[in-house]
């Protein structure tokens, strides 16, 4: 008996996947349901309300939102480029791209923190009305996902990257999985931006 879990790196022929990739997609399926539930709650609360303020009425800055959208999209591209660099056996480029992703996620969080701070300063707290409440919940849960992604990406950028020397194929697989998660977080924001800031 081999002492390792089968199909941790190589592909199982009948499913065409390795364990990690199947796992991350199942996790994302669950995440779809999580954000789906929040989104559904948003729709229910909004359709039930006789008056629903626009984001701008409550002091949301569309331009900051747009900047953050662009920041996150860019971080998604650097993430996929980090993976592609590993595919091309270019470890230095990988470091640069993943570093850029980390930096951009910091920028996103800083902008978000300024937005939050500005709202708290103007008394726009979650308890003021249901729009602000769902705004803070949606962006807050999304922000937690960003932080979670940063922890994972930070690990692979720093101590975790040692694996490139011992098991490059496995490491590339891990970056792909981290990337899938990161793109999903980006994808959620693509919906959150118009829903909260514009509509």
């Amino acid at each position: 008996m081999s002492d390792a879990i089968p199909y941790a790196v190589d592909i199982r022929p009948d499913t065409g996947l390795n364990n990690g990739k199947m796992g991350i997609w199942l996790f994302l399926a669950s995440e779809v349901m999580l954000f789906g539930g929040l989104f559904s709650s948003y729709v229910l609360l909004r359709t039930g309300a006789s008056h629903w303020p626009l984001g701008v009425d409550e002091g949301l800055n569309i331009w900051l939102g747009l900047v953050n959208t662009i920041v996150l999209i860019t971080s998604s591209v650097t993430m996929v480029m980090a993976w592609a660099s590993l595919k091309m056996q270019d470890f230095d480029k990988f470091k640069k791209f993943l570093g850029a992703t980390l930096l951009l996620s910091c920028v996103f969080l800083v902008v978000k923190a300024f937005e939050y701070g500005g709202k708290f300063a103007h008394g726009s707290v979650p308890s003021k009305n249901t729009f602000l409440a769902i705004y803070f919940v949606l962006t807050g849960v999304h922000g937690l996902h960003i932080i979670g992604g940063m922890v994972v990406n930070g690990y692979f950028w720093g101590p975790g990257s040692k694996m490139w020397k011992t098991d490059p194929e496995r490491f590339t697989g891990r970056i792909e999985i981290a990337g899938l998660y990161w793109h999903f977080v980006d994808l959620v924001w693509i919906f959150l931006f118009p829903v909260l800031y514009l509509l």
Partner: protein, 590 residues
């Protein structure tokens, strides 16, 4: 995160027994914790039964233990009764039955039954157990915060739950831990089942138990996020004073609440039941899987219709996502929506009946061995049948008007979960004990456990159906005295409950205490057999066909000496012309 299973061969005590990554040890951890919580939840119920049978009388012997805040002079306060009710439900479902059915049996036997060396993600598996453990501890701590544990029912409906005492906040945090645990667990199960099957183990050769775990894992994966949303939003309502679930102008004790309003109480109920209905199937499906193994083994014939059972199971899983609002017929949803959910509810009873009928038909013409696991499995069939059939009137929106929130509902779902799922779990413990420990449990003590438990279960739950039909609400802390038609002195009060109906509480409570007494043989048997039970002489003492019996008892680290190859379906018993009356999956020739 290196991937070798070797790392814990020469591991330290902590690695081996506390933060173990071996699926078998994690299964045992789940099992022990789950059984302890089951006992704890059971004790909460015993306290409630005293209060219901003898309201306002001091509890003898133990009454003084609970202090002035809960039971001054041994008489239970309504607030404490409400805590017991809410926590009994929460603990039994989320900390007792599901961790046993999925965490313990699933973890231990799914990898063995598909011929895998371990779960696909051993460290995730460990994290899943510890998240569950933390959730459980949070729930226990909540009993000691001011105001006590959560007291808004196991469903935690707002607005009541939002204005409830601190215990509710801990309940919500506890739930978030439990949701995380089951999310990690379910991903692990699905990947393990699809990726780590041994050569020859095609999907349609998997034991039915594995199929039930697979379906359950999908239910947990996709339904639990809805409860997570509900928990997050309710936490916001409680901690940040938002009003997701709080309507405008809510008045509590004559005072208008300081909420911005605009929330929807129905939103919570929808989110909650979007999880909680599939959760019902999480409770019952693994149980069906366990008894399928045991019935096939002890009738010595193939189960009657493996494929139809699998298809019915998958269909059941799908349908369980579109029946949730049958818990909400009385919320004013409107008739069109109610009719839709009524129709889906009637449809979902069909696959359950397919599975039950297949198991019943398996008994026909079998040479049945009446050992203890089989007794529990046989008792499961009619008990689950009663539970299922009593559910039909609840699924009809008109009949539900009368029955909603009465003891009938309590009787119904306890028939499904207590003599249903719990019997299956007991059955599984007796059946797989030799695999886990290398020793059999004592048969005589098993009988002493089974027969009184079986009888007292019915003494407990059958009268509840009658009380419910008579209109007894499930939420009465005084056992219905407020609604009695006469005072104890015989003066007419105009209430609806006769002395006879209220008196049934005493019968039920006697049944409950009898049942408690006859769990002692089980507990004794369990521990005694670990060290002094009769040693099994072969790895396959029940002469079963599935792969777990190919492994040594108990299985070593990595489970199998060589990767087992699967040659045939899971229940090839009494094959014509075969040498013996069972042809294991791992044996090349019949």
């Amino acid at each position: 995160m290196d991937n070798s299973l070797d790392s814990s061969h020469s591991a330290s005590f902590w690695r081996k027994y506390v933060f173990s990554i071996d699926h078998k040890w994690i299964g045992i951890q789940y099992g022990i914790t789950g059984l302890l919580f089951l006992l704890f939840g059971f004790c909460l119920m015993l306290l409630m039964r005293w209060q219901l049978a003898y309201p306002e009388r001091p509890l003898p012997f133990f009454g003084a233990w609970f202090g002035e805040l809960r039971m001054p002079e041994g008489v239970m306060l309504p607030e404490f009764y409400n805590q017991l009710g809410a926590m009994h439900g929460t603990i039994m479902i989320f900390l007792g039955v599901v961790p046993l059915a999925v965490g313990a049996f699933g973890n231990y036997f799914v990898p063995l039954q598909i011929g895998a060396p371990d779960m696909a993600f051993p460290r995730l598996n460990m994290a899943s157990y510890w998240a569950y453990f933390l959730g459980g501890v949070t729930m226990l701590i909540s009993f000691f915060v001011p105001g006590g544990a959560a007291n808004s029912g196991w469903t935690s409906y707002p607005p009541l739950a939002v204005i409830a005492t601190t215990g509710q906040t801990l309940w919500l945090f506890g739930m978030i831990f439990l949701i995380t645990s089951s999310l990690l667990g379910s991903i692990n199960f699905i990947v393990t089942i699809f990726q780590l099957r041994a050569p020859g183990m095609t999907l349609m050769r998997m034991p039915f138990f594995v199929w039930t775990q697979l379906t359950t894992a999908f239910l947990l994966l996709l339904a639990f996020p809805a409860l997570e949303v509900a928990a997050i939003l309710q936490l916001m309502d409680r901690l940040a004073d938002t009003s997701f679930f709080m309507p405008s102008g809510l008045v509590v004790s004559g005072e208008i609440q300081d909420y911005s309003g605009g929330g929807s109480v129905l939103l919570y109920q929808h989110l909650f039941w979007f999880l909680a209905h599939p959760e019902v199937y999480v409770l019952i499906l693994p149980a069906m899987g366990i008894i399928t193994e045991i019935i096939a083994n002890n009738t010595r014939k193939p189960i009657g219709g493996y494929k139809p059972m699998v298809y019915a199971l998958v269909f059941l899983g799908f349908m369980s996502f579109v029946v949730w609002a049958h818990h909400m017929f009385l919320t004013g949803m409107g008739t069109a929506i109610s009719s839709f959910f009524q129709a889906t509810t009637m449809i979902i009873s069909i696959p359950s009946i397919v599975i039950l009928a297949a198991l019943m038909l398996t008994l026909w013409g079998g040479s049945i061995r009446f050992n203890v696991p089989m007794l529990f499995a046989l008792a499961f069939l009619p008990m689950f049948g009663i539970g299922g059939l009593t559910g039909l009137p609840l699924g009809l929106s008109t009949a539900d008007i009368h029955l909603h929130d009465t003891y009938y509902v309590i009787g119904h779902f306890h028939y499904v979960v207590a003599p249903g799922t719990l019997f299956a779990l007991f059955s599984g413990i007796y059946y797989w004990f030799p695999k886990v420990t290398g020793r059999k449990m004592n048969e005589f003590l098993g009988h002493l456990h089974f027969w009184p438990t079986f009888i007292s279960m019915n003494i407990i739950f059958m009268p509840m159906l009658i009380q419910g039909l008579a209109g007894m609400s499930r939420r009465l802390w005084d056992g219905g005295l407020t609604y009695a038609d006469t005072t104890p002195e015989g003066v007419l009060t105009g209430g609806i409950l006769t002395a006879g109906i209220i008196g049934l509480h005493k019968v039920i409570s006697m049944g409950a205490w009898t049942m408690a007494l006859f769990q002692i043989p089980f507990i004794f048997n369990f521990f005694w057999s670990i060290w002094w039970g009769k040693k099994v002489t072969s790895d396959n003492p029940w002469e079963a066909t599935t792969l777990e019996w190919a492994a040594p008892s108990p299985p070593p680290h990595g489970n199998f000496a060589t990767v087992p190859v699967t040659y045939r379906g899971p229940y090839e018993y009494s094959v014509p012309d075969a040498e013996r009356d069972f042809s294991p999956q791992f044996q090349e020739t019949i």
